[in-house]
Each structure stands twice: as structure tokens, then as C-alpha cells.
């Protein structure tokens, strides 16, 4: 995945000669297994499994539902972090609804999916807040949220609001050649980067696809040696230098705190 995703998909016809060999297939299987282990660990910690967040999203009803309470309509890639903030801050009245994280691979679909979720949350007498950044929609998600009268977290990407939008913007061109991953994307590297870019089938395309990048910056939300290892491994697979930057939850905390406040009217 580039920082905004290119459309993925399978080849319609096999190559006449060449193609990925058994070794590449075995490596892909090994990496998939590593992802499954991480997902199992997350599930054991009480969070939805990453594979489910990628494919189907999740619904995490408020532990202490309140009439007219807030509902967070979020990307599945943010579920772990949002649930952690809810837990730590005691925002048990917040309802969380995550759309499938794989929508990132087709950003043009995000505005309609979010609009549908907003309508459904309102029908359930909940007050929706959208926890998606622009995410490659080219301003269309913001325009849709404005039209619906629903608040959306500011920023071009989750990379940006985890880093802090002001800090991210200030880095500007100095980080033009950085390829960002969050904790979720480190865990789901194969699902969001390796396979969608066709590198499982055509590993020889790696430098054509990533040759303009210089380093992979892992914007880490939590301290976790296993995630750090996966980040280093992802950087090595892409042929990039590795940098880990602990961001915590950045601007996400303030946005959720606002959503958690009682409605003024």
C-alpha cells in the first residue's frame, strides 16, 4: 500500500513463464501465520481479532448505554486504540462501531459506507461521531460529514492524528520519503501492503513500487517488542530503513474526549 492505496486484486490470467516460486509462497504462509498469532493475542486481551477488523469490522456496544449517547463510527484499524482509550478513561457510555478496515483499499467507498452507518446510528437514537481521517477520499468524506452535520476527526490520515496533526504537518517535505505504518498496519502488513500491491505474486516489483521511499516509520501506539520486531521485519521486506516512533494515541484522545462529553442540548 502506498500512503493512499492503489486498487488490489488477482491476476486474470497466469503468466506463461516465471512467477512466484514455492519459496515465495512459503514465506507468505509464514508471514500469514505470524499475523494470526498477533490476532490471537489481541483477542485474548479482549479486543476484536485483527482479521475480523480487516474483513468485517466490529460492533462494541457501550457497557453503560445512555439514551442519546454518542456512537463512534470508526475504521476497523482503530478499534484496539479506541477500546483502550474507552477502558482507560472509563467512557463506558460510548458505543463503538467499526467498519471493515479493508475499505482503505477502496477509499472511494468510504463516504457512502460512513453515511450509511451514520443513518443507522441515528435511527438507533445514538449521536454519531466519525473517527476516520480523510483517508485518501480527497475531501469527499469531510464534505459528506459536513452535509450530514456530523463531526469527523481532523487530519489527512490516522498516521497524522496519531503523530499529532500539527506535528505531522510540520514535518512536511522532510518526511516525503517515509512510508508509515501504525501498530495495526504492522500487524496486518500482509493484508494491507504485501498482498494488495501484488508482492506475494510479483516480489520483483518491490523496488518499482517502493523505490522512492527511504524508510519505514512505525508510528507506535504502545510499547510492544513484538510489534517492534514486526515493524523491523516489514521494513526489511520492503528494503527500507526502519524507524520506530512512539506516538501514543495523539489527537485521537482529545477527539474521543469530546465525543464522550454529554450533549449540550
Amino acid at each position: 500500500m502506498t500512503q493512499d492505496a492503489e486498487p488490489p486484486g488477482p491476476a486474470a490470467r497466469p503468466a506463461r513463464r516465471g512467477g512466484a516460486g514455492g519459496r515465495a509462497a512459503a514465506r507468505a504462509a509464514a508471514h500469514a501465520a505470524a499475523g494470526t498469532r498477533a490476532a490471537r493475542q489481541a483477542a485474548q486481551a479482549g479486543a476484536p481479532a485483527d482479521d475480523a477488523l480487516t474483513e468485517t469490522g466490529c460492533d462494541a456496544p457501550a457497557a453503560s448505554p445512555a439514551s442519546g449517547g454518542a456512537s463512534l463510527i470508526a475504521c476497523g484499524a482503530l478499534a484496539h486504540e479506541i477500546l483502550a482509550l474507552i477502558r482507560v478513561n472509563g467512557w463506558t457510555h460510548l458505543h463503538l462501531r467499526c467498519l471493515p478496515a479493508k475499505l482503505h483499499l477502496r477509499p472511494e467507498l468510504i463516504p457512502d459506507e460512513v453515511a450509511r452507518a451514520v443513518a443507522e446510528e441515528r435511527a438507533a437514537a445514538r449521536d454519531p461521531f466519525v473517527v476516520y481521517a480523510d483517508c485518501g477520499t480527497g475531501g469527499r468524506l469531510q464534505a459528506r460529514c459536513d452535509a450530514l452535520g456530523v463531526e469527523m476527526i481532523p487530519g489527512p490520515h490516522c498516521y497524522s492524528f496519531f503523530d499529532g496533526n500539527a506535528a505531522f504537518a510540520a514535518r512536511g517535505d522532510a518526511e516525503m520519503t517515509a512510508f508509515y505504518l501504525t501498530d495495526f498496519l504492522v500487524r496486518q502488513f500482509d493484508a494491507f501492503v504485501w498482498r494488495p500491491m501484488g508482492l506475494d505474486r510479483r516480489p520483483e516489483l518491490r523496488d518499482m513500487l517502493f523505490g522512492n521511499y527511504e524508510r519505514l516509520v512505525h508510528l507506535a501506539q504502545v510499547e510492544d517488542p513484538e510489534l517492534e520486531r514486526l515493524g523491523r521485519e516489514a521494513a526489511a521486506r520492503l528494503g527500507l530503513l526502519h524507524e520506530r516512533r512512539l506516538t501514543g494515541y495523539g489527537d485521537l484522545s482529545d477527539f474521543l474526549a469530546r465525543a464522550a462529553q454529554p450533549a449540550s442540548d
Binding site: 502506498t2 500512503q3 493512499d4 492505496a5 492503489e6 486498487p7 488490489p8 486484486g9 488477482p10 491476476a11 486474470a12 490470467r13 497466469p14 503468466a15 506463461r16 513463464r17 516465471g18 477509499p107 480523510d134 485518501g136 477520499t137 480527497g138 475531501g139 469527499r140 489527512p156 490520515h157 512536511g172 517535505d173 516525503m176 520519503t177 500491491m197 501484488g198 508482492l199 505474486r201 510479483r202 516489483l205 518499482m208 513500487l209 522512492n212 521511499y213
Partner: protein
């Protein structure tokens, strides 16, 4: 089985079969086979222009159509375009020598602050395959770089690409600079990139938003032809 196909000997195929095989090999991104096919047809006396149009451009049209229709995806198209490029590398000097017809000149590049060039490279290769001269400025281009190249190359088309929501507004900076210079209407301005859409293209004053490389080629042909038609009637 793939092994059976490995027995194909390109030099033993007649011209029609070889051209069909080259279409298949382009589709499969087989660079070495395309180079071999080009050399065989040249040895058989094909003109570079005929070879370009019938073997390479026609083959890439299938690739472009299947990309547009969601049958092929970026990795496969990149490989096909690479194979096409290797054939073009053989033909380019010969086309210049033989005075093959030219469609026009395009200056293309990714905008300032953006290093993403997959889509831009595909457009570049497909445009060249369609008979346009392409001056590819690469990535991270300031307005001055585009404008200097447009003037230097006496180009008719400007292509700008961006993949980031944060960099796509720079396209308007370039167009506004062209307007300020009084040269905006000298060029067909095409824009593309994942977060863009037609509305954005209109809003910044581009002539067209192109959602993929195949659309870019068709749009360029249409708009350049319309411009020539209008100029002919104005004179």
C-alpha cells in the same frame, strides 16, 4: 501446463501468430519475449511504426481495457508496461529515423511534495505507446519545473499526478501560475491520482480528470484532436 507453453519458439511463428503471441506476452509482462518478438519482426522487414501500432499498442490496448474493467490490477499492468517499454527502447531510435507520425508532446510529472509515481509511470508508458512524445519529469515537481519543460519542449499536453490528499491541491498552484503567465490555454491539462475525482479536476481548472492510464490516453487523443480541429477552423 506452463511447461508446454515454454516450447513456443517465436521465430517459427508466422507474422500473424507472432503478433498474437506478442499480445499475450505483453499481457503476461514478458519483457524478454517482447524484445525477441520486436527483433524478429524488424528482421522480417516490418516498419517500426507498423510494429509499434500492430504488435505493441494493440497489445497494450487489451491490457488497458482489462485494467479499466477491473480484470487486471496495478502489478500486472506494471509488468506489461515494462515489457512494452523494453520493446519501445528498441523502436524509439528507429521511429525517429523513419519519421513516424507524432500525436503530440506531453510533459508529465508528480507534483511537489509527492513521491508516488506508479500511476504517472503507467500513463507515461501508455502515452508513448500511443504515439505521443513524453517528457517525464519524475517526482516532486514545482510549478516552475512543469512550466519550463512545457515551453522548452513546445508541448501540447501537461499531465500532473498526485497520490496524497495533502499534495493534490498543488495542481491548482501550477494551473494558476500558467494562468498568471497567460499561457494556460496553450495546453491540454490532464490530472490524475487516487484521491482525485472529476469535480476536483473541474474545480482547479484542469481540462480533464483521468481515472487511469487508459482513460488518459483516450482523453489526450480526443482533446488534442479537438484542439487541432478548432485551430484549423479558426485559421
Amino acid at each position: 501446463m506452463a511447461d508446454e507453453d515454454d516450447d513456443i519458439v517465436l521465430s517459427e511463428l508466422d507474422d500473424g501468430e507472432l503478433v498474437q503471441q506478442m499480445h499475450d506476452d505483453l499481457y503476461d509482462g514478458l519483457k524478454d519475449e517482447i524484445e525477441e518478438g520486436v527483433n524478429i519482426l524488424l528482421e522480417r522487414g516490418w516498419t517500426p511504426y507498423r510494429l509499434l501500432t500492430e504488435a505493441l499498442v494493440a497489445g497494450m490496448k487489451v491490457v488497458g481495457d482489462d485494467f479499466r474493467d477491473g480484470i487486471l490490477f496495478v502489478p500486472e499492468v506494471l509488468l506489461a508496461a515494462n515489457a512494452m517499454k523494453s520493446g519501445m527502447n528498441i523502436l524509439r531510435p528507429l521511429l525517429a529515423e523513419t519519421g513516424a507520425p507524432k500525436m503530440g508532446t506531453m510533459v508529465i510529472g508528480t507534483v511537489k511534495g509527492d513521491i508516488h509515481d506508479i500511476g504517472k509511470n503507467l500513463v507515461s508508458m501508455m502515452m508513448e505507446g500511443a504515439g505521443f512524445d513524453v517528457v517525464d519529469l519524475g517526482i516532486n515537481n514545482a510549478a516552475e519545473a512543469y512550466i519550463e519543460a512545457l515551453e522548452r519542449e513546445d508541448a501540447q499536453i501537461l499531465g500532473m499526478s498526485a497520490l496524497l490528499t495533502t499534495t493534490m491541491p498543488y495542481m491548482k498552484v501550477v494551473i494558476d501560475q500558467l494562468k498568471a503567465n497567460g499561457t494556460r490555454d496553450n495546453y491540454v491539462v490532464l490530472v490524475g491520482g487516487a484521491p482525485l475525482n472529476e469535480e476536483f479536476g473541474r474545480a482547479i481548472g484542469a481540462d480533464a480528470y483521468c481515472r487511469d492510464a487508459a482513460v488518459a490516453v483516450e482523453t489526450a487523443k480526443t482533446l488534442v484532436a479537438a484542439r487541432k480541429h478548432n485551430q484549423a477552423h479558426a485559421n
